[in-house]
């Protein structure tokens, strides 16, 4: 195992059983009653490693499993199979007690700062709660010092500590949730669409804050987003997901200048640009299939302009390209594109 990677994910699979109760599972088939499970295959066989101090972004359209991936890495969902390693130790099978020391190192920032902050708690209570929880026996004075320090570091006046979340704007609320994540001095932060609910001028403030915090504290980020221009701006490497599978993983510069996977190419061609003339975007036929019945072969085959019989039969394997890129595509492997 590489020593410079902080988080490593190996063949991660997360499925959700949504078949409901026993009666919902029973169906009539050819005059016989059969029991059937409906399974959402949210994350399928994903492997990657996140290096210390880098920002790995995961992009993809809604429903592609990027949030499930983030939550599984954090240990909020137990994976169906596969492994998650943190700093060389396997963490996906630990009990919640054994998980405790890792919880202070891994923190999460959620999408909607209106939903992720308890409206009945003051900022002080919100930010101090993880401090008290992870530092048993800490004195009130010390906790207060840490609260003030972390609030100043996210650009908020500690005077505001006794106010409630509804008294703050969206951008300030997201600062509070970042402060809560930073309060226990983590090494690794999972940010699940942290700026999607914010206005453009506020997005810039929060992104700058995230980048500053990374520089000061040498943080490692797993950044989930659907906004490709933001991802291009802040990431070291980018992973593209489609229907629960990894399509391509490459350094941000490489991915945006020369995308290899046909899905990445289509995705990038759809980004609108300010001042640009409307460019010809690659039209994908059809819709994203449901993750309940994954297509055979490559998951993208139904919409891919380069698909052939092999793509419809055989699941592609990831292949190294460029300096440190990965691409999962038969057409690239065969040199057809």
């Amino acid at each position: 195992m590489q020593t410079d990677s902080l988080v490593e994910v190996k063949n991660l699979v997360k499925h959700f059983d949504i078949s409901g109760g026993l009666l919902d599972q029973l169906t009539m088939e050819n005059g016989r009653i059969t029991r059937r499970h409906t399974i959402v295959q949210a994350v399928n066989n994903i492997s990657f490693a996140i290096k210390k101090g880098e920002t790995l972004s995961v992009v993809g359209e809604s429903g592609c499993g990027k949030s499930t991936l983030a939550r599984t890495v954090m240990g909020l969902y137990p994976p169906n199979s596969g492994e998650v390693h943190y700093g060389g130790e396997r963490i996906d099978q630990l009990s919640s007690k054994q998980m405790l020391p890792f919880r202070t190192k891994m923190q999460m920032v959620f999408q909607d700062p209106y939903a992720s902050l308890n409206p009945r708690m003051t900022v002080r209570q919100i930010v101090e709660e993880p401090i008290y929880f992870h530092n048993k026996g800490i004195t009130r004075g010390d906790a207060k010092d840490r609260l003030h320090k972390v609030m100043r570091s996210v650009g908020m006046d500690p005077e505001w500590a006794n106010n409630y979340p509804h008294e703050f704007s969206g951008g300030q609320r997201q600062r509070i949730s970042i402060a809560r994540a930073l309060a226990v001095d983590p090494e690794f932060i999972v940010a699940d669409e942290p700026i999607a609910a914010l206005d453009v001028s506020i997005q810039a403030q929060v992104l700058n804050l995230l980048m500053d915090a990374q520089e000061e504290r040498n943080l490692t980020y797993l950044f989930i987003s659907h906004d490709l221009s933001v991802v291009e701006h802040i990431s070291t490497r980018v992973a593209v997901m489609y229907l629960g599978c990894l399509c391509e993983l490459a350094p941000a510069k490489e991915l945006f200048s020369s995308p290899r996977h046909p899905y990445t190419q289509a995705l990038l061609s759809a980004i609108p640009t300010v001042g640009g003339k409307r460019k010809k975007h690659i039209h994908l036929s059809g819709d994203v299939p449901t993750p309940i019945n994954l297509p055979a072969g490559c998951v993208f085959n139904g919409r891919c302009p380069h698909a052939n019989d092999r793509c419809r039969m055989e699941i592609p394997q990831s292949m190294k390209v460029g300096s440190e890129g990965l691409v999962v595509c038969h057409a690239v492997e065969e040199g057809r594109i």
Partner: protein, 321 residues
Amino acid sequence: MQHLLEVKDLSVEFALRTGALRAVRNVSFTLNKGERLGLVGESGAGKSVTGFSIIKLISQPGYISGGSILFEGKDLAKMSSEGIRNIRGNRISMIFQDPMMTLNPVLTIGTQMTETVLAHMDVSYKEAEKIALEKLKKVYIPSPRKRLAQYPHEFSGGMRQRIVIAISLLTEPSLIIADEPTTALDVTIQAEIMDLLLELCQTDDMGLILITHDLAVVSEVTERIAVMYAGSIVETGLTSEVTMNPAHPYTKGLIAALPQSGGAGDRLTQIPGAMPSLINMPSGCPFHSRCTICTDICKVEVPQLEANKSGTLVACHHADK
């Protein structure tokens, strides 16, 4: 030449217990036949209220407190509710943000489409169905006849928005108001919907008011743009001119705040602070507390829209004239 739509000094207020909240302040703009206008701003800037008030979709406690809305020569602001019903959904159609909320989940697409046709046109049910079918084809819905019998939940998000667009086309309107039509959709679907809207405007010579917070979308689709801030238009002109050479400090800030390709890892230019609350508006220029070139005059006097040398109207005391 007569404009298709001429909005003059439009003000919209909401009567709250604490006093009148002026959501739209003296907004004026024009739209010619077949022209595409983008209305851009952050949440709370008044762009949606402006769009809604054109077809009088403002309900209590909101009301149009001043100004006029001339559409094809008639003033919609003074029109009775019966009069506006012949215009709304007929001559002017609206597309909303979330297609799942716009469509009725318990009626088939066919019912919802023929209902609209029958409400506005004197045709038989057969003919109404024919029109519905034709419009579904126009928005590239595959196997439209089969689709007419289906319910909204049987469609994907992008398809649903196509159907909403098809419904808005049924009466062949001369103006479509689209309020954040792609905000709830993915980027690849967004590109398709925008291509479709652009194509329809060009082939049918339809006017479009595109309300969105996304400057990039506006800059690709529209010909003219109006940037709103705290209820007023702060800059308006040709889209290419405003996006390439923004004159108002707010527009400059908005464009600079977007991550640009090539500048990876650099800090983004941020606009400090947040938009003032419409209840407690500062004196003078509404942007002055966040502005980097603010001087004494900005704190006292409200700037008016004035043309600069490239023809863009800018409301700023310090913009180059």
